[in-house]
């Protein structure tokens, strides 16, 4: 069974440009999460989808970040315009349930974003 896949694995862009990160969750997982780790900091929650609905987007840093999950399958995270402080690793995770042991998160390998 395929795990959580993320694309691209690494993106280098200039400040002010736009980047779109994609996440394909494990098939059948209704719950999809975005987390990120910026340099020197801990991994932090960004948002949580249940199917195509945003369940919790309390971790989104500002309105330059837009997450979508059309049709409840894959998800995209767009950063527009990118700033230097957006550099870091963006992780996507999915789970079968939203809570408890059945809510184990399976993480992708991350998309590394470098903003110059």
């Amino acid at each position: 069974e395929a795990g959580v896949t993320q694309f691209p694995s690494h993106s280098v862009i200039e400040k002010g440009q736009t980047v779109t990160l994609r996440c394909d969750p494990i098939s059948g997982h209704d719950n999809l999460y975005w987390y990120r780790r910026v340099m020197g900091k801990e991994i932090k929650f960004l948002l949580h989808f249940v199917k195509e609905s945003k369940q919790d987007e309390s971790g989104m840093p500002n309105n330059r970040f837009l997450a979508e999950r059309t049709g409840g399958t894959y998800s995209t995270l767009k950063v527009q315009p990118a700033e230097l402080e957006d550099s870091g690793v963006y992780f996507c995770a999915s789970s079968l349930r939203g809570f408890g042991m059945a809510g184990e998160l399976f993480f992708g390998e991350g998309s590394r974003l470098t903003v110059l």
Partner: protein
């Protein structure tokens, strides 16, 4: 103050030694405790999950939770070079929607052959 504190290490031990890792947390609402292992350039993978005070064993791994002290630990017995990785504690609240995790910063562990 961070919600979850974790010593960044690195922690270097000889093969076969016991690795001892720990985290402290500040919010008593946290009810679910996890340890993740992350290899370089990979995503975190779940090692241990517990929701009660006490010990939980799984092979060479033992997770320990002390809710009264807000302190969690992970012990790795008979450590192997393949255990070299970053270990992250993660905690969630019973009231959190879904599995919204609060992570510690991670401890880098190096097991030398």
């Amino acid at each position: 103050q961070k919600e979850v504190e974790q010593d960044p290490g690195p922690l270097s031990v000889p093969e076969g030694a016991i690795v001892s890792l720990n985290c402290t947390y500040s919010n008593s609402a946290f009810q679910y405790f996890m340890w993740y292992r992350q290899y370089s350039r990979k995503g975190p993978e779940l090692l241990m999950y517990t929701y009660s005070s006490g010990n939980k064993e799984d092979g060479r791994f033992t997770a320990q939770v002390d809710k009264s002290s807000k302190y969690i630990s992970l012990f790795i017995r008979d450590s192997q070079p393949s255990d070299s990785a970053t270990y992250l504690c993660a905690i969630s609240s019973a009231k959190a929607a879904g599995n919204k995790l609060t992570f510690g910063g991670g401890t880098r562990v190096l097991v030398k052959p």
